[in-house]
């Protein structure tokens, strides 16, 4: 079942005009910002399907940039987000794509600074609910509504068990987990949705495990 809470239906509280094209877009932008972990210097935003056709009317552009600025869906500064981004020195470029996406409301965000880059694909499935379906070329399924860990690791036996052991030691329950890889034996991505926010100390322990390349967390 895609929807689990009554507040997915009655809610969110948000700045109009569209839950999928405005609130959902804010949330996709916000997940990108959280995963990147800092203010980006630049962002390329690609709109597909209904997003590409109607983003101006729905304020999808304003909303996704609001998310990149770490705004909530109800932030009254939303209307002026493009202006604020410019003031903060973030270079934003929008692209209308013609490719037909699997879901009609699809956006791809590529962002970065001198230290690194990140690319994710998000879909807005209705009522403000979103899913992140791709991260740096890895397929995944992430709602952004729960705290989560994203762990880049080498595709070796024992990597998953090591992570699970650390989480068990701190009594952290896993709600949803998946592993994705592009090629056997190369880099892989573990996506773990958990029930509570994860302390930085635990993240550091996970980073120190064998075969682990990088760990990012999403807080609720």
């Amino acid at each position: 079942m895609k929807y689990r809470s009554v507040f997915d239906i009655i809610g969110p509280i948000m700045i109009g005009p569209s839950s999928s094209h405005t609130a959902g877009a804010v949330r996709i932008g916000k997940v990108a910002r959280n995963l990147f972990g800092r203010k980006p210097a630049w962002a390329d935003i690609f709109f597909y399907g209904s997003f590409a056709e109607t983003y101006r009317g729905h304020g999808t552009d304003v909303a996704i940039v609001g998310g990149l600025l770490n705004f909530d869906t109800f932030d009254e500064r939303m209307k002026t987000s493009l202006h604020i981004a410019k003031q903060e020195g973030i270079r934003i470029t929008f692209h209308e794509e013609e490719a037909i996406p699997p879901h009609p409301n699809t956006a791809k965000i590529r962002l970065g600074d001198e230290k690194g880059e990140l690319e994710l694909v998000g879909i807005s499935i209705g009522g403000g609910k979103i899913e992140i379906i791709e991260l740096n070329g890895f397929e995944l399924k992430l709602s952004g509504h729960h705290p989560a860990l994203l762990i880049m690791h080498n595709d070796r036996y024992g990597a998953i068990a090591g992570v699970a052991n650390v989480l068990a030691k701190y009594a952290i329950n896993i709600g949803h987990m998946e592993v994705s890889r592009k090629e056997k034996g190369k880099q892989a991505l573990m996506t773990i949705e958990v029930d509570q926010n994860i302390d930085d100390a635990i993240v550091e322990q996970l980073k120190a495990l064998p075969h682990i390349i990088d760990v990012t967390k999403i807080v609720e």
């Binding site: 009655i10 700045i15 109009g16 839950s19 999928s20 209904s50 056709e53 109607t54 409301n105 209705g126």
Partner: protein
């Protein structure tokens, strides 16, 4: 978790509780949050809805200039006392429009189930408030009842205009409101399900064709009639009228219709009202030029 309307109704009947209570208990179970916490969050949603209605009735105008001001216009008409239909129904229509006019003006609203269809549930709620004089607690319950039915639609069909057309948005909202109205008026869980079925049946096939891609035309007026539809469906169910097609099958039909609906009519502003000469002219006025891809 209840997977469909039949299970929802069955659980309410077996445990002799309201639909709203089934929803609250499930929310506690799934999220492991306390009852107080969950009720407080819904109360906050109710406050946002109330503020949006008040703001819309005072009169707002969208940036494009396409919508705004119709909610107070209807209130003035009601006050003159010469209306053809009924006072409560027109009040619901006016308050539904008030909410969507605020939404179109990029004001703050609560999505129910979406922003584009945010007027129907609060519109009907604040209209029957005058007639039924519910407590604040009962008004919060109304939202849980509406949420329970919306939850089934979202999981078995869709609440997205881009995926299922306007029937998935205003259609779902009308069904949710109709069911909640029945429960607030003292009807049974079964009657609430009948009201949902009747309301949604009359929204089947409705396309999503926003002029210039804006959530304004025809969205505001579709919320208006969605609210009226919900009021009438609720009255029919309370009278004992049943839907010959069970609620879950109506929802399934809505899903299938949405899947076969052309993309041009699913929130892409390529067909329907969005493709009329007048709509194209507005589009050019608002954005400087019509979108060439669409010509």
């Amino acid at each position: 978790m209840f997977r469909n309307v039949a299970e929802l109704v069955e659980r309410a009947e077996r445990e002799q509780i309201k639909i709203a209570e089934v929803m609250i208990r499930q929310e506690m179970e799934v999220t492991e949050r306390s009852r107080e916490d969950i009720i407080a969050q819904m109360e906050k949603n109710l406050q946002v809805m109330e503020q949006a209605v008040i703001r819309g009735l005072a009169g707002v105008r969208s940036h494009s200039g396409l919508t705004g001001g119709d909610a107070p216009l209807l209130q003035q008409y009601i006050a003159r006392g010469q209306f053809l239909s009924g006072e409560t129904i027109l009040d619901a229509v006016s308050k539904a429009m008030a909410t969507n006019e605020v939404n179109a003006a990029m004001g703050m609203i609560c999505a129910t189930p979406t922003a584009g269809s945010a007027g129907v549930v609060p519109g009907t709620l604040f209209a029957v408030k005058e007639k039924l004089q519910p407590t604040r607690e009962q008004m919060v319950e109304f939202l849980f009842t509406a949420g329970a039915f919306g939850f089934v639609v979202a999981n078995n069909a869709s609440i997205s205009g881009a995926a299922g057309g306007c029937q998935a948005e205003v259609g779902s909202a009308a069904g949710m409101a109709a069911a909640a109205l029945v429960e607030m008026a003292g009807g049974t869980p079964r009657q609430a399900a009948e009201a949902m079925a009747i309301a949604l049946k009359n929204m089947l096939g409705l396309v999503c064709d926003p002029v210039a891609g804006l959530v304004e035309v025809p969205c505001v007026k579709r919320n208006a009639i969605g609210a009226a539809n919900a009021m009438i469906a609720a009255d029919m169910a309370l009278a004992g009228i049943q839907s010959r097609i069970p609620c879950d099958e109506v929802i399934e039909a809505m899903f299938r219709i949405g899947q076969t609906m052309p993309v041009a009519l699913k929130e892409t502003a390529q067909g329907g009202l969005a493709a009329t000469p007048t709509a194209r002219k507005w589009e050019a006025d608002i954005f400087g030029k019509p979108n060439e891809k669409r010509e």
